[in-house]
Symmetry: C2
Subunit: 97 residues, 2 copies
């Protein structure tokens, strides 16, 4: 948790403690590169920023940032659970020659 | 983020991937001991669990757990920002004898 707060403030370098579009791109590029490397579509990024910007000030405050992080975690958790529930490939029920 | 998913599943040891009251107490005692050591009040714990339990099944799924974590992070972030904005004690404006 502490780590996420520090990461946010590392990129939110203004006295209002908010992320503008450029800073959010830097955060996603550096911290979520694995997830975002195919996400080069400017329109979808702008739409995401607009959806996250609840108070409409064109920036993301910490609460708006956490709602983004929560969304990413929900998706990652679904993948995590699916992987844990899949029988390991070549498992016991596998018919070996 | 990955860490928080793994911590959740470390305590949510059932096939439904949910935390019951006992497991949530274990999580809070082990992972948030600094924040929770004075929180021994059973009623407030039960009320918190009830508030978090959006689907009313008496357990916390990952989404409900994340809303708890987000609340804790918002409070920690406020403290973090206040500390950063307070002039360091004995700062330049301190009148030395």
């Amino acid at each position: 948790m502490q780590n996420l707060i520090e990461v946010f403030h590392h990129y939110a370098k203004n006295e209002k403690h908010t992320l503008n579009k450029e800073q959010m791109k830097q955060f996603m590029g550096a911290e979520l590169s694995g997830l975002c490397k195919n996400q080069k579509n400017v329109e979808s990024f702008d739409r995401m920023m607009k959806d996250l910007d609840f108070d409409g000030d064109g920036q993301l405050n910490f609460e708006e940032f956490v709602s983004f992080v929560a969304g990413v975690m929900f998706s990652c958790n679904e993948i995590y659970v699916k992987r844990r529930e899949q029988p390991a490939k070549g498992g016991a029920c596998q018919v070996t020659k």
